[in-house]
């Protein structure tokens, strides 16, 4: 009898504190939830804006996307999301997530922004495992090297110059580390090629989505 009460009290104490604790957290959650979602959105946007400054587009970049099946040419092994920038009603640029597979020690994840005319809007490294102090010069925080891609396109420099200088190309390597820049240059190049080949397809795909959602509801909604 006594034991039963003992056991019951244990349960109730724990339950009581659970209620109090959850209430506290729940209230905090209610207060902060919107702000948090906002934050996350803003953070992503900030990254995209580094490639594509906000004055260059006027749409809701985060919600204007198309998804892409896994594609070797972009190094993607899973479905990925391409962000579409628009100016007025025209598509002005696209931002591709690209993975360079041949870094010195693993994959280099980046975002590659390509203007609709085929020039590079910008390249940023999202994450990598290169040697700190050697291969990490591609990070914008460490050096300006990635800025060298700005404005380049498939023909500028010429096709056969899409290499690092060591290999006779147009791009600098880092002292003592050629592999990393080589990999990045190669991946950016591949992405440009991809864009060149599939530009139409991509635009069509996007337009179809818009139509679909317009017919469904109003425009501007993200489409999955």
């Amino acid at each position: 009898m006594n034991n039963k009460r003992y056991i019951l009290v244990s349960g109730l104490i724990l339950g009581l504190f659970a209620i109090v604790g959850t209430a506290l957290v729940g209230v905090t959650h209610q207060v902060t939830a919107d702000k948090i979602i906002d934050n996350e959105r803003l953070a992503l946007l900030r990254k995209l804006n580094q490639i594509l400054p906000s004055e260059k587009y006027d749409n809701d970049l985060l919600h204007t996307t198309i998804s892409l099946d896994a594609d070797d040419r972009l190094g993607q092994k899973e479905t990925s999301t391409i962000y579409i920038a628009k100016r007025g009603n025209e598509i002005s640029a696209m931002i591709f997530p690209v993975i360079a597979g041949k870094g010195y020690s693993g994959e280099i994840k980046m975002l590659v922004g390509i203007n609709i005319d085929g020039t590079l809007a910008g390249v940023r490294i999202v994450s990598h495992k290169e040697t700190p102090g050697l291969g990490d010069a591609m990070e914008i925080e460490k050096s300006d090297w990635v800025l060298g891609f700005n404005g380049k396109s498939l023909n500028e420099p010429a096709e056969n110059k899409w290499k690092v200088k060591r290999d006779g190309g147009a791009f600098d390597q880092f002292t003592g580390a050629t592999i990393t820049p080589r990999a990045v240059v190669q991946a950016v190049h591949l992405c440009l090629v991809y864009f060149d080949r599939h530009k139409k397809e991509l635009i069509e795909k996007y337009n179809k989505q818009v139509k679909l959602s317009v017919s469904n509801k109003k425009s501007g909604e993200p489409v999955k």
Partner: protein, 186 residues
């Protein structure tokens, strides 16, 4: 609404867990603390109280409860401290200043000429190492004496003296080689 769900879910689970723990604590109750015994076995059982506890076992209990350090027993010296640190898996602590090394072992003897047979020492001795009856001269059973010196203060005529335990060739110990500055620390 969402808060309510959260609270309900968590509270349910918590109550369940609480019941579970309550149940197990009742059903799987275990008693006793063997650690104290283990510690006590390492102490020299001199019962001298220099550790500030009234005897070895209380000190052992204090150590087990985490209230006392392992370096408070002068009769045990460094050896005991090291043994305790080994047992409890704690870092060895140097002994309090004076008793830096293992103390010399001593016993006491009663100057039988001066002893008046008051039996005060008998009452003080924690291990009954003193023989004698009232008004008769007393003597120490040397093999039983632990050298705690507790019998000395009560003696009204100061007839109890400390002597080192005699070392025989058989009980003699080799010392560590002297040039310790190039050898590992103790």
């Amino acid at each position: 609404m969402s808060i309510l769900i959260a609270i309900i879910v968590l509270a349910t689970i918590s109550v369940f867990f609480g019941l579970l723990l309550g149940y197990t604590s009742v059903k799987f109750h275990v008693e006793g603390d063997p650690v104290v015994d283990k510690i006590d076995a390492l102490l020299p059982q001199t019962q001298c109280g220099q550790c500030t506890y009234p005897g070895c076992r209380p000190y052992a209990e204090a150590i087990a409860a985490g209230e006392a350090n392992i370096n408070q027993c002068p009769p045990g010296g460094e050896t005991t401290m090291l043994a305790l640190s080994e047992l409890l898996g704690v870092e060895p602590i140097p002994l309090d200043s004076e008793h830096a090394d293992d103390p010399e072992k001593t016993v006491v003897y009663i100057d039988e000429q001066t002893c008046i047979g008051c039996t005060l020492c008998i009452q003080a001795c924690p291990v009954d190492a003193i023989l004698g009856a009232a008004k008769q001269m007393h003597s120490i059973i040397e093999s039983e004496c632990t050298g705690c010196n507790l019998c000395i203060p009560p003696c009204p005529v100061d007839c109890i003296h400390i002597i080192p335990v005699k070392i025989e060739p058989e009980t003699w110990r080799w010392s560590l080689p002297e040039s310790t500055d190039t050898s590992p620390k103790a």
